[in-house]
Structures are given as C-alpha cells and as structure tokens.
Symmetry: C2
Subunit: 344 residues, 2 copies
C-alpha cells in the first residue's frame, strides 16, 4: 500500500471540480448546446486540426459500413478530470477542499493552532503545512477523507461545492469546467459513446457532482480510493471510509483502473499531463481506430500556461511522444474559442 | 490478502455461466420477449405475491408524482449471478472452466498425471484434487486464471463458453439462464433501471459473455478479481493477470464492491444465498422505496432444490430474516412458469 502515491495523487497530481448546481443555468446551457450541435457539434472549438480530427474520427467510427466502424458496445471514451475537464491551477480543487475542511473543523480542535500540518493550513502557509512530508499529507487526508460514512462524506462534499469559490475568478469550481470539453462529452454521447472519467482524484469526491456537471453517472467515474468497510453495528448498516489506500488511479494505474472498472480498452481518451500517458498509450495501441487527445495548457490569459516545468501537472513525455502515437495535441489558446461556459 | 476467500468464491460460492452465442436464437427470443412484455412484463412468472410485488414496486417507483418515485439516475438494480441468473449446480460453472482448462493444458504438462491437484482433476476425482486445501485450490486458480494477458484470458473464456456443456442437460452453460430473470432484467431496463451483476465469481470471466447473455455491459459487472499489471515491455502494451487477489466480492464484500464500482446504494437487489445477504441488507435499509428479492431453489425436477443444508450456496440466514427486512422470496417451483428459455 503506497499511501504516498494517493496523497500525491490528491495533493499534487489530482484534479477535481466542485458543484455549483445552478440547475436552471445548466438546463439553458444544454438547450443552447443542443441547438448548436445540429449545426456544429463543437461550436467552442476553432476550426483547425484538433477539431477536424475529432469530427473525422467520430464520423468514421459511427458510420455503418465504414472500415473504421466501431460497434456501440465498444464505444468507450475516457477523460482525465483535473486540467482536462476543469481547471487544476493554482492548486487542484480537491486540495482546496482539504484546506477548507481543516478550517471548518478547527474550532473543534483548538490544539491545531500550534500543531502542524494544521497550523500551516490555518495560517495560509501551505509550505509549512506540508513540510512534514508524507506523514503530514497523510494526516490531512485522513482528517478530511476518512473516519466517516460514505453518506457523511458525500454530504460534506456536496455542501462544499455549493459554496466554495476559485481564488482567482471567484466562480464556483464547477463553473470552471471547459466549455469545449463539455461539448466534446455531449458530442461523443450523441454518437453512442459512453463517457467515463478516469482521474487521479478521489472517486468519492468526484461522484458527488460529476453527473450534474458532466453528465457522467457515479458508475462511470474511475478514481483513487481509500478502502471502505461495511459496518452493521449501528441502527442502519453503513459504509465507513478507512484511512487505508485502496487504489491509486494515476500514471500506470490508469490502464489498471480502466480494466477494473470498465473492462474494455477505450477507443477514445483525453488527458493533459504525463499522468495520463499510460491511458493514452493503452488506448491508442489497441487494434482498429483509436484516438488520443492531449489538452495543452497554453493560455496564460484565459486560463493558465504550463507543461514541461510544471510541478503539479507536468506534460513533457506526452509532448515528446505525441507524434509517435498519433496523439492530437489541442492548443488551448489556438483551438478553443472560449474556455469556460461563462466566457463571452 | 485473503486468497482463500477468492478461491472459495470461485470454487465454492461463485456462480458464473458461459456463452453459447447463438445470436439468431437470441434475437428471436428478444423479439418474442418484447411482444410479450407489451401485455405482461413477466410472462414466465406465475401470478402470485412475488410477481405482483415486483410489478407494484416498478410501477410506483417510475410513476411521476408518486410518493415513491425514484429518479432515473437512482434506479440501480443489482443481481447476483450464480443461482440467481443461471444454474450453479451441481458445481459452479467457473469451476467447470477450471477443470476443462486443466484438461486442455495437460498434454503440455505430462508431470500433472502424477501430481495433485492436477492428477485428481484429470482423473475426475475432485475430492482428491482439493484435498490439498487452500494451496491446491490456489494452484488451480493461478494455472487457469493468471500469468496471461487479459486479452488472452478473454479469448480462452470465449472459446470455452462456445463449446462447453452442462453435465446434466447437455446445454451450453449460457443457455441455462433463468427465463424469468431475463424478463426481470428487461422489465427493469425498460423502466429506466440500470442493471448490474454483483457476483462472487470472477469479474473477467463474466464480462466476456454477460453483455450477450444478459444485456449487461462489462462496466456494469462487479465481481471478484485478481490484480492486473500494465506491462509495456513488449511490442504492444498489455495488462497481465497476476496471481494475487485484488477483491473478493462475496458476503460483506458485496456492499463494498457496489460502492467501489457503482457508487450508489441500489434500489433493487436480487440474490439466492447467504452470500447475498449483505447486499440485500445494504439495499433495503436505505431510505425510500427499496426491493430485496431472494430466489429460493425449490424445484428438484426442473432445476435443483437446495437451501439451508447446501455446502455450495447456503440460504439460511436469508430465509430467517426475509420477513424482518420485507424481502420477497420467490419460490422457483411455484412462482416460475418456466425455468430455462429452452423449457416448453
């Protein structure tokens, strides 16, 4: 059990977004999207190689009689979450959840004021908080993610996403999803693809809001997890989240997570960092038509620009090998007409 | 890692069926079923409490405005496999697969003739084969289920189900599925329910044929599993099945497996043994309308009769507590008009 990797997954490499639940807005967005799709399935993508490659691929794999036709049962599409479907900068959203939870719980723990890693979190000194390394990170994780029932955790996440906002934009985290990717999810689903999230982030954290935000139901979310235990000692049987790693869904773990949860090699996969290299490779080395998409963060004005030097979400090996594997690299600055649904 | 439980799950408590793949037959069956459903959604169920309870439940949970209405996103139905969807006697199907694999591989292993547990398998003396206990069972499991790629395993299972037949009926194992349960799966799906298999049997074993036989895609199959490793050393990256338990999806593991794979408490669950007690309990102790169904094997003529004294699939605690949890116990002899699709 390498808890270090889970902690890393959550505190460094993960990426998860939170729910704002403006259902009315969502509905009108959907209607607009549907109307647009009739004309252009990807209206927020600029014309170019990335957009055309996607449309060509979906067209040829769904056209009966095409040499590249893929039966509906095999139309599996996987998406990383942090940095692929929503913003993961300046810190992954799930880390903000950890920080806010510590602050919320602090009044019940006066001793935290003088005790790391809590002291650092409470004083806004993240560096001091994580100076204790793996042990400190593990303590934060356990305090915020374990020792409660799954229902209690769900409610905590739900309440948090309804109120928490991004430090730069002031928007709810679930509003900071990429409009071009929402269109891509819709476009694939309209063409018989099943869309899955395959993220290093926490599976229980994502499942709370993924259906409403992305249209991806809980059973199509793959992520990192701690073990749970079925407990029948109380009045009602519950599942309790334990402080023990169950699965680390990152890097070479992603193809494994895909196999465990989906049981089929995907046809289409999108990611944005070297943590997604394994699943893009697993996808596109299968026989028949396959599509690998990298989202390249090139837009420091509308979002964030980072790749080879990023400590949080490095994209280096993926760029080096994109041509070799025929992966399409979407340039956010050039390929995306808008980034967020709220952009004009 | 309790490999003993996995082995038990596979060699004792599991239940999985194999594919015959008569696609033409399946198609005409489906058409007939669809025609029947228009009049009676469960034509192979006799009128009675079990049938009426199911229909009442589906009706009230899908009627807009009903106090018991369940939104489509929450309509999760889970089914055990062995003994619930197909026959698990005289031995669980997956055990026949193990036996046949050993026989197939034997010519490459002349030493097996004098070496247990192989000797016993080859001579038809199962008792001698498993006299070595856990170690012997583990060896059989490893030899037949690990040390190969997932693609190789899939092909092996696929080839086997296409040819293997049940010792009593001579039918393909995938023909020995319960017609009333196929109708129930269809009926639930037609009413917006997502149907999942939650079995102690091997997840990779079931996924090969579950879609064709039950209409349940691989990502809606939950089962026991060994670990897999993503391997990039060869020309094409592959997933290799390892001789190490990953998850034992039986008894108290079933609610855990449901949480890991589905992420929601089911609304409807069907099982047939005490191995399913936990998931029925987890299901029916949730708030709002819930349904727990036990299939009681009472028909020694058309199938097999077993319950409290069964070593393979004991149903005792489930019968004791059925009334307490308001579980419906379907009596195969009385409640089922026919057992198999091929019955007249």
């Amino acid at each position: 059990m390498n808890i270090k990797n889970l902690v890393k997954g959550i505190l460094v490499g993960c990426s998860v977004i939170l729910i704002s639940c403006h259902q009315e807005d969502a509905k009108s967005d959907t209607l607009t999207a549907a109307a647009n799709t009739a004309m252009d399935p990807l209206p927020s993508w600029n014309e170019g190689l990335a957009k055309q490659s996607i449309i060509d691929f979906v067209t040829k794999t769904t056209k009966e009689g095409s040499a590249d036709f893929v039966p509906v049962v095999d139309r599996i599409a996987c998406f990383d979450n942090d940095g692929t479907l929503w913003t993961e900068m300046p810190l992954p959203t799930q880390l903000y959840f950890v920080i806010d939870r510590i602050k919320t719980l602090a009044p019940q723990h006066p001793e935290w004021k003088n005790q790391q890693p809590y002291k650092g979190i409470l004083e806004g000194d993240l560096k001091a908080a994580i100076a204790g390394g793996e042990k400190a990170l593990m303590e934060l994780l356990v305090t915020t993610h374990a020792g409660m029932t799954t229902d209690e955790f769900d409610k905590t996440v739900k309440d948090w996403v309804a109120t928490a906002t991004h430090p730069k934009t002031g928007k709810h985290y679930t509003e900071m999803v990429y409009q071009p990717m929402l269109e891509l999810l819709d476009y694939l689903r309209e063409n018989g693809y099943k869309t899955f999230i395959v993220s290093g982030g926490g599976i229980d954290f994502m499942r709370v809001w993924a259906e409403q935000v992305y249209g991806v139901p809980p059973y199509q979310v793959v992520g990192s997890s701690t073990k749970v235990r079925y407990d029948t000692t109380g009045a009602q049987p519950v599942l309790i989240k334990l402080a023990e790693l169950n699965f680390n869904d990152d890097k070479l773990g992603k193809p494994v997570g895909i196999h465990e949860h989906i049981g089929k090699r995907p046809v289409f996969t999108a990611g944005n960092s070297d943590g997604d290299y394994g699943m893009l490779q697993y996808t596109t080395t299968g026989s028949g038509p396959r599509f690998g998409l990298y989202i390249h963060h090139t837009d420091a004005v509308r979002e964030y620009a980072y790749d080879r030097e990023s400590g949080l979400a490095k994209l280096s090996k993926g760029l080096d090998d994109a041509a070799k594997y025929h992966w399409v690299v979407a340039d956010m600055q050039k390929d995306w007409k808008k980034v967020y649904p709220f952009d004009k």
